[in-house]
Subunit: 371 residues, 2 copies
C-alpha cells in the first residue's frame, strides 16, 4: 500500500486516522499510518500543549498530525457565558423535558458542568494552531472549510502541509485556491459533519477537479482493506478514517463504572449501518450521528429546530455530559459514520492496521486476476 503520498509523509501506509484520542493517534502512527489528533475538545491551550508533549514522547519519533475546526463562515464569537444568553428558553425547556422523558438523571453536585465546545471559534482554533506549531505536526487539517490564509501561510512557513475536508467539488476548488495542499473528499456516509454526495461519486469528482494542484484523501465509509482499495481505485492517494477508531482498545471513550466497554462503545458495537442519522442537533451543522432515543426525540413533531453553530453545542453540552454519566446505550449522543455496522469488536489499533493492509493486498491481487 506504500505510495508517493506515504513516502512524502515518511509513513508506511497512506492511512490517515482522525481521532480525538491521543492514545489512538499515537498507536496509528506507531503502526505505520498517520494519527491525526482532533483538537476541538481542547478549550484550554495548556491542555493541548500537555497532550502534544505526550504525543511527541509516545510516537517513537514517527509523524502525527493535528485537526482543528475553523468553520469557513465564522460563527458568533464570545465567551460561553455570553453566548449562553442567545439560547431561547424554549430550547432549554425541550432539552430538560427530553432528558426527563428518557430517564437521564441530573449531574451529581460534585461534577463540574460542561460548558460546550468552543474549539470551532476562530479565537480558540488560532491558539491551538500556535500550540501545535511548537511541536512537530506533520499535518494541520481543518474539518469545516479552508483555514484562514494567514494560518495556511504560517503552517507552510513551518513546512507543515494543510488539509481541508470537502463535501462537494466547489469546496475542493475553493480549498485549492486558498492554498490547501490536501483535500479530504468526505462522502455522505461519513460520521460527523458531512455533505450529501456519497464517496463513490464524490471522490473521483474531486480527484478530477483538483488535478495535480492537490492530493486527495477519501473519507467516509472506510473500515476494511476492500474499502481502502475502492478508495484508491476511485483515484484517492490515501484514506482518512475517523469513526472506525471509536472502538479501538486504546480509546477510553465514554463513562464505564463497571468492567468492559462504556455505554457509548456498547451502542457503537451493537449498531448496524442503518443506525445513523444526519442531523444538526450536535453542533448546529449537519453531522452524522448514531441514531438513538436522543436523536429521535429531536426529529419528533413539536421538537424545536437545532440552533446555529456554536449555540447548539452550548445548548446540549450539559445534556451530553448527563447522557454519558447515565451509561445507557439507548440514549447516546455520538457522531458516527455508516461504517459503524462493521465495528463489532473492541480491538487494538495495531491489529486493525494489520488487517487493513492484508485485506488491501488480497483485494488488489484478486482484481489483478480479472485484468
Amino acid at each position: 500500500m506504500h505510495n508517493a503520498l506515504a513516502e512524502k509523509f515518511g509513513i508506511q501506509y497512506p492511512i490517515f486516522a482522525f481521532t480525538p484520542s491521543e492514545h489512538v493517534a499515537a498507536a496509528v502512527s506507531r503502526a505505520g499510518g498517520l494519527g491525526v489528533l482532533g483538537c476541538v475538545r481542547f478549550n484550554d491551550p495548556e491542555e493541548l500543549e500537555a497532550t502534544l508533549t505526550w504525543m511527541d514522547e509516545n510516537t517513537d519519533g514517527k509523524p502525527y498530525g493535528v485537526d482543528i475546526v475553523m468553520p469557513a463562515k465564522v460563527p458568533t464569537e464570545g465567551a460561553a457565558v455570553d453566548l449562553d444568553k442567545l439560547i431561547p428558553a424554549e430550547h432549554r425547556a425541550f432539552v430538560d423535558r427530553t432528558l426527563d422523558e428518557l430517564g437521564v438523571p441530573p449531574l451529581s453536585d460534585d461534577v463540574e458542568h460542561a460548558t460546550g465546545v468552543l474549539g470551532w471559534l476562530h479565537s480558540v482554533a488560532r491558539a491551538q494552531v500556535d500550540v501545535a506549531l511548537k511541536h512537530r505536526p506533520a499535518l494541520i487539517a481543518n474539518a469545516l472549510g479552508s483555514p484562514p490564509k494567514d494560518i495556511i501561510d504560517e503552517a507552510h512557513a513551518h513546512g507543515v502541509p494543510v488539509a481541508a475536508l470537502a463535501g462537494a467539488v466547489g469546496h475542493a476548488l475553493s480549498h485549492v485556491a486558498n492554498g490547501v495542499d490536501i483535500v479530504i473528499a468526505q462522502g455522505y456516509e461519513a460520521g460527523g459533519h458531512t455533505g450529501e454526495i456519497a464517496s463513490m461519486v464524490l471522490v473521483p469528482e474531486i480527484v478530477d477537479a483538483v488535478g495535480d494542484s492537490a492530493t486527495v484523501l477519501a473519507a467516509g465509509g472506510i473500515g476494511s482493506g476492500r474499502q481502502i482499495a475502492a478508495a484508491l481505485s476511485l483515484g484517492a492517494s490515501g484514506v482518512w478514517m475517523g469513526s472506525y477508531w471509536l472502538t479501538a482498545a486504546e480509546y477510553k471513550l465514554g463513562s464505564a463504572s463497571g468492567e468492559g466497554p462504556s455505554a457509548i462503545q456498547r451502542a457503537l458495537l451493537d449498531a448496524s449501518s442503518s443506525d445513523t442519522v444526519r442531523s444538526r442537533i450536535y453542533s448546529g451543522k449537519p453531522a452524522r450521528l448514531l441514531k438513538t432515543k436522543w436523536t429521535e426525540a429531536w426529529s419528533k413533531p413539536g421538537a424545536p429546530d437545532a440552533l446555529p453553530m456554536p449555540l447548539q453545542n452550548l445548548l446540549v453540552a450539559e445534556a451530553h455530559q448527563r447522557i454519558v454519566a447515565s451509561e445507557n446505550p439507548e440514549v447516546v449522543a455520538m457522531p458516527a459514520g455508516q461504517i459503524v455496522g462493521r465495528m463489532n469488536e473492541i480491538r487494538p489499533v495495531a491489529d486493525s492496521m494489520a488487517d487493513l493492509v492484508a485485506e488491501f493486498e488480497a483485494t488488489v491481487a484478486r482484481l489483478n486476476k480479472l485484468k
Copy 2:
C-alpha cells in the same frame, strides 16, 4: 474485466445495464454487457411482446435481461379509473396549482392523457413475466423486493436466474431465503427507488452477509471504469448501472420539437452531483430524482405529503406528461442518481462501454503498482 459471472452469462464484461430503452439495452448487449430492459412502463402486455421480439432481432444473438417491478408489499390493486377515486382533491389541486405557477401548459386536445404507471401492480407484472418467458431473457430482475415464490420457481424452471435489488443487509438475506440468485446492492447515491446506506458501506456488507449463497452486483454511483474497479474491490462480482444510460445516443428520452437533445436530456447534461433529491413524489416510495423546480415545489411548506404507491404516480402521471411536453429543462420529473454529475455528453453506448473497460484496466494496473 471478464470474470466467472460474465462467463456464466455468456457476456464479455460483468456490466449490467438497466434501461427503459430497448435501443440502449440492445446496444449494451451487443457491446459485451448485459442490457436489461425495464418493463414497468408497459401497461399493455402486447406492447412488451413486440418490444421483446425487437430485442430478439437486434441483439446479434447475445443475451439480455428484463426488469419488472413487484413491490414486496403488494400495493392496492385495481384499474386506473377506480384507483383514481382514492386520490384526495387537495392533492389534485396542489398539482394543478404548481403546474400553473411553473408555467407548464395543459396538454393539447389531440393528445391521449397518460393514466400512470401500473406495472408495479402484481397483476400487470405477472403478465409481463409470462410474456418475457416466451422470449429468451438471461435474467429477470425485480426492483422492489423479491418476486413472489411462484414467479421465482417459474423463472428457474425456464433456466432463468432471478435478481433483486437490496438497500440493506436484511433485504438481501430475505431475497436469498426466497430463492433469488443475484442480489443487486443498491446504494443511497443510486437513481430511482433507493435506500439510505451508501455503496461504499452497503456493497461489502451485503457481500459478506450473503456469502456463497448469491452473487452480488453493485449499483449506485457507477459511471466510470474507476467506479467499476471500486465496486469490484468492495467484493461485487459485477455492476448494475442505470442512470448512466439516460444520456446514451440511442435513447430517445423526452420530447424535442427541435434539433438536439430533449429538455430532459439537457437537464441531465447540465446537472451536477448535488442536483438530485431523494423523495417520494414520483411513485410514493423514496426515489432519487433530478432536483428541479418541480421537486422543489413538493418540499416547500404547505405542500402535501406524497401519496402511497400506486396512487402517487397516478396523481402525477398527467403532470409528468405535461412537463415533458413543455420542454423546459428547469421543470423536469426524472429519476437520476448522483452519477448525473458525470453525464455531460450524449454518447453512443459502444463508446461508453469501451471507455469503461479501458479505464477499469488502467485502474487495476495502477493499483497493482502499489502492492
